[in-house]
């Protein structure tokens, strides 16, 4: 009821402003071995634009019957808000706040503290961040402060037995800084710094040997070209030094290489290939380690030359180190001015196959209604379900 009032007030108060609303409700049916469980989810998102201020508000509620080990909570409420203020043409401030609230009785024991054999459950998660982005001459400076406080409680009250004080929350503070300098139209260099400090309300867990603090810093070079062997090319090479008591020696000196190449073959057919490789150096063992190699290839074909909304996208993503192979195909086709259909198949080798079909109905340029069905079959025990079907009904509205 409270939620309905907030949403109604929001819609009502902003009818005369530039606003965008999106709402969807999903009903899910999960099946795992002999267990059958129903779940539901509602998502509401709105965006208001008032002069230089852009305000986004999102509310998600998830409720499902009990019976699975997953998700972490059977009842979750999430609130996301994001305000962006354009101070000047090249300068903006972003203030964000996320709140996740879990129903105490319906939440799984999880989270990082169970390494000391005291499973805990999260109750509430607050995430507040402030970001400033400034550009002048050839410089771009991004600075951010982020804070996250997680309220927890113990699933099993075994603390009396081992006579130790319980923690009520753990907090993480992040400080971020990124500075980039454009050397030429094609080449930029940059430096990044990120630091996280971890604090727990239980003094035992602030033991320096167990802390989750980290500091990452490094720099890189970025090259882009609009005409490289006939296509658009970008390459980024970065060195990142990572320090934390939780990292193994080989995780400290990281080299990350990212490239992307877009190529337009014909007016109707375009494609891109991206490749990310990550390797590291262990200065104690004097050895290089390969951490990740990921290739993604994707092509888009326009089915009608007079309507860019009729298209087919197909591609694959291969992660060599984690043996992850995903193949996907998506087709969108407007039947007439009001109706459009889309069909998607996403197959992850040995993990899942998901088929999504959807029908969109556009009443006018400001109102859209859609219905979508997603059907997922699991092949692995990473997914706790064997079968999952989700029916979604949603609307999108735009007020100007």
């Amino acid at each position: 009821m409270k939620k309905l009032i907030i949403i109604s007030l929001f819609i009502f108060s902003s009818l005369c402003l530039n606003a965008y609303y999106w709402n969807q409700t999903r009903i899910s049916f999960y099946k795992s071995h002999d267990t059958e469980v129903y779940g539901g989810e509602n998502n509401f998102m709105s965006e208001l634009i008032i002069d230089k201020l852009n305000f986004r508000f999102q509310m998600n509620s998830l409720v499902s019957e009990e019976g699975f080990d997953d998700p972490n909570s059977y009842v979750t409420n999430e609130i996301r808000s994001l305000s962006t203020y354009q101070l000047a043409e090249n300068s903006k401030f972003i203030l964000g706040y996320n709140l996740d609230y879990y129903d105490y009785d319906k939440t799984q024991s999880s989270f990082i503290y169970d390494w000391i054999n005291q499973p805990v459950q999260p109750l509430v998660k607050n995430y507040l961040y402030l970001i400033s982005k400034n550009e002048w001459d050839n410089f771009t400076l991004l600075a951010g402060l982020r804070g996250r406080a997680t309220g927890i409680d113990y699933k099993f009250d075994i603390s009396d037995a081992i006579n130790t004080a319980q923690a009520e929350h753990y907090d993480e503070f992040y400080k971020d800084l990124a500075l980039a300098y454009k050397l030429t139209n094609n080449v930029a260099i940059y430096a990044t710094f990120e630091n996280k400090t971890f604090y727990s309300s239980n003094a035992d867990f602030n033991d320096p040997g167990r802390d989750y603090d980290y500091t990452h810093y490094g720099g890189g070079v970025n090259f882009t070209s609009k005409n490289f062997l006939g296509g658009k090319f970008s390459e980024d090479f970065q060195y990142l030094r990572k320090d934390s008591k939780q990292y193994a020696d080989y995780q400290r000196h990281n080299f990350i290489n990212k490239l992307r190449y877009n190529y337009i073959m014909t007016p109707a057919l375009s494609s891109f290939v991206s490749y990310i490789s990550k390797f590291s150096y262990d200065d104690k063992e004097k050895e290089f380690y390969r951490l990740a190699n990921m290739v993604r290839v994707q092509a888009r074909y326009n089915l009608l030359n007079y309507n860019y909304q009729a298209f087919l996208i197909a591609g694959t993503s291969l992660s060599l180190e984690n043996l992850n192979r995903i193949y996907f195909a998506y087709v969108n086709y407007p039947i007439n001015k009001s109706f459009a259909i889309s069909l998607e198949d996403r197959y992850s080798h040995n993990v899942y196959n998901t088929i999504i079909a959807s029908l969109d109905y556009r009443l006018n340029s400001n109102f859209m209604f859609y219905i979508e069905n997603s059907n997922s079959q699991s092949f692995s025990n990473i997914n706790i379900y064997d079968f999952k079907n989700t029916l979604t009904i949603g609307t999108r509205m735009l007020f100007r």
Binding site: Y129, Y214, Q246, A248, N293, M294, S317, I382
Partner: protein, 81 residues
Amino acid sequence: MKNIMVLLLLFLLLFSLFACKKPTDKEYNVDKSSCNSCGECISVCPKDAIEYNLEGKAVIDQSKCVSCGECIAACPQGAIY
């Protein structure tokens, strides 16, 4: 310039594929250009090891991740590798 670039990339590719040792533990990362910030990975991670970064994209905190792979199976974009 282009030729040097191509050769350098080829060297990096071969180096990262063949000259490096594979660690015993897997390391999972997020491809930011494919992530649409849906948060599915955050809600299934049993170690609270994923959060949004400055750009609003999911990032795996390697100090808490135990490489269980649940986020890979949950990501609808195939953005975790």
